[in-house]
């Protein structure tokens, strides 16, 4: 029974000591310690948020870079394509022109050949005619020794040549 | 048998009851912790609180024994 009866003296001292302890520690220990801890926790939280934000910004920046790079690449691509097209066109144009030129030259050549041929033919004709005339003269000199015969021949020839 | 002896038997009986109670709490807590290791801390603290409640009953018995002793 003795063991479980609270002694007044000890209750009194416990109360006083506990109150002193509570008062002093609350003011000079718990407040600074808890304050420092929560301040630090706030700081860490803030730092984490800041880091998160920075990372997001970085990601945005990276995305931007990517986009710009892509755009540049596309542009280069299109420029290359244009150049290639132009080259092809130029080659085609040149080819065409050359073709036209060649055709023209061939035509001219053909025309020249034709005219040369004609000229040659005429010359040949003339030459042949001269020759024939000479031959004819010689033959005729012998044949046409009389006037009669001459006249007969002229008539015959006239008849033949009027058709020409 | 003196009154002190009877009180001692009473304290012993109280200890048996509390022992069974705390044993069940401990066993179930262990099982729960094995099943959900991630809840380890929560289960442990609530098991301790429950054990304290069960123990209080046994301690009432012990105090009655003290009263007689």
């Amino acid at each position: 029974m003795d063991l479980i009866t609270p002694e007044f003296g000890l209750v009194f001292w416990t109360l006083i000591m506990f109150m002193i302890l509570l008062f002093i520690l609350r003011k000079f220990a718990w407040k600074p310690i808890l304050g420092a801890v929560s301040e630090r926790e706030e700081g860490i939280k803030k730092a984490l948020t800041a880091a998160d934000e920075a990372r997001r910004e970085m990601e945005n920046l990276q995305a931007d870079n990517e986009r710009i790079l892509n755009e540049a690449r596309a542009e280069r691509e299109s420029m290359l394509k244009d150049a290639r097209d132009m080259k092809a066109k130029m080659i085609a144009d040149a080819k065409e022109e050359a073709q036209v030129q060649a055709n023209k030259m061939i035509e001219q050549a053909q025309a020249a050949i034709e005219s040369e041929k004609k000229a040659a033919m005429t010359e040949l004709k003339n030459h042949v005619a001269g020759l024939s005339m000479e031959i004819a003269e010689k033959i005729v000199g012998a044949e046409l020794s009389t006037d009669k015969k001459q006249l007969e021949l002229v008539d015959e020839m006239l008849k033949e040549t009027t058709l020409n | 048998m003196t009154i002190t002896g009877i009180a001692a038997i009473g304290a012993g009986l109280a200890a048996i009851g509390a022992g069974m109670g705390i044993g069940r709490i401990g066993g179930s807590a262990m099982e729960a912790m094995a099943r959900q290791p991630e809840m380890h801390g929560k289960i442990q603290s609530s098991a301790l609180i429950l054990a304290a409640f069960v123990e209080a009953v046994a301690l009432f018995g012990v105090v009655v024994a003290f009263l007689q002793g």
Partner: protein
């Protein structure tokens, strides 16, 4: 690292256990002719005392004398406990301030007018003496003062560390203290009371946790002769009453409604529950009080009982068994010191949380 810690723990506990021989043996010597009475020895050590008995040297007890302070009709009387000459059987009478004082089983009695010797009834209660109002610095009060000084030293120097560091980084003693403080805040205060209101109760919870813990630890140190402060009902009673007062002062409408008119149950049940809840209001702090007292006292009793086995059997052969068991119990007691402080604090926090909980039906 872990093995080292374990070895240190074992060394310390062995020291604690061997130290316990000291006070077991001292009693044996003081009653050489009488039969060794383990019950008397144990109760003597579990209870409070006026002097701080350290050890016996050459048959003479060495102790720190502490002041005895009493208040009677004649006013305050203060004298040193050494004037009783280590007597607690009421034989030595000290005359002070026109009154005669006697120490009967570590309780000071004032002899009635004209008496010169204490007389007892059949149950060994003094018949011709009264208890004065006694606010002596007993060994428990002395150890409590020591613990208060130690706590102040630890925590004030810890908080100074924070003040001196620029970025609130703990160093030195603060890095030892901070995890414990954070434990009380994050494992006890926050989950039990709730995020919004826990801050108001933190100083009380922290103070009570460390106050109980350090006194539990001091109770295990044998050279202090096991000043069993936290195993003393007066100490636990005071703390439980403080928890009771804070709970009921901070109780809101919802709390009282749950006690007197439980919502959500039929009317006959409300009437039936009301007395149960009202009893519960008082049982909660009583169970807090009994739990801490009985746990710590039981630990001391068991260790001392194991030690007294040696003197009961009067042989040294039993010593290894005694020491082995006592070592085991002491290791458990070291854990119990922390667990009981934790449980007292967490249950206080739970009651505060129940008292301040908002209605959510």
């Amino acid at each position: 690292m872990r093995i080292n810690t374990f070895r240190n723990l074992l060394l310390i506990t062995t020291f604690l256990v061997i130290g316990n021989f000291g006070f077991a043996s001292s009693d044996k010597e003081s009653g050489d002719d009488a039969e060794f009475d383990p019950k008397e020895m144990i109760l003597h050590h579990v209870k409070d005392a006026y002097g701080m008995h350290l050890f016996d040297w050459d048959g003479h007890p060495i102790s720190i004398p502490l002041p005895v302070i009493t208040y009677t009709d004649n006013g305050f009387t203060v004298f040193s406990s050494s004037e009783f000459h280590h007597d607690y059987s009421g034989e030595v009478i000290v005359e002070k301030n026109g009154q005669k004082f006697a120490n009967v089983h570590e309780k000071v009695y004032v002899l009635n007018e004209g008496e010169t010797e204490v007389t007892y009834d059949a149950e060994h209660h003094p018949t011709n003496a009264k208890r004065p109002i006694d606010i002596s610095i007993t060994r428990n009060v002395f150890m409590m003062m020591v613990s208060v000084v130690v706590l102040l030293l630890i925590f004030l120097s810890a908080s100074r560390r924070y003040k001196n560091s620029k970025d609130n980084v703990p160093s030195g003693i603060a890095s030892f203290v901070e995890p414990l403080v954070l434990f009380v805040r994050d494992e006890i205060g926050r989950p039990m009371i709730g995020e919004e209101k826990y801050k108001k109760y933190m100083p009380y919870l922290l103070t009570i946790f460390f106050f109980i813990w350090i006194n539990n630890i001091f109770g295990l140190i044998p050279i202090l002769n096991g000043a069993n402060l936290s195993g003393n009902i007066a100490f636990t009673f005071t703390l439980a009453v403080l928890t009771f007062i804070i709970t009921n002062v901070s109780g809101n409408k919802n709390y009282w409604k749950h006690i007197f008119w439980m919502p959500g149950v039929p009317v006959p049940m409300k009437i039936f529950l009301m007395p149960i809840e009202i009893i519960g209001v008082f049982v909660k702090p009583i169970s807090l009080m009994i739990r801490l007292f009985a746990n710590i006292t039981a630990g001391h009793v068991i260790i001392l009982a194991l030690m007294s086995l040696i003197f009961v059997f009067k042989t040294i052969a039993i010593a290894p068994v005694s020491v082995g068991f006592a070592l085991f119990i002491t290791v458990i007691e070291i854990i119990v010191t922390a667990i009981q402080a934790y449980i007292f604090t967490i249950l206080s926090a739970l009651y505060f949380g129940m008292a301040t909980e908002e209605a959510h039906h």
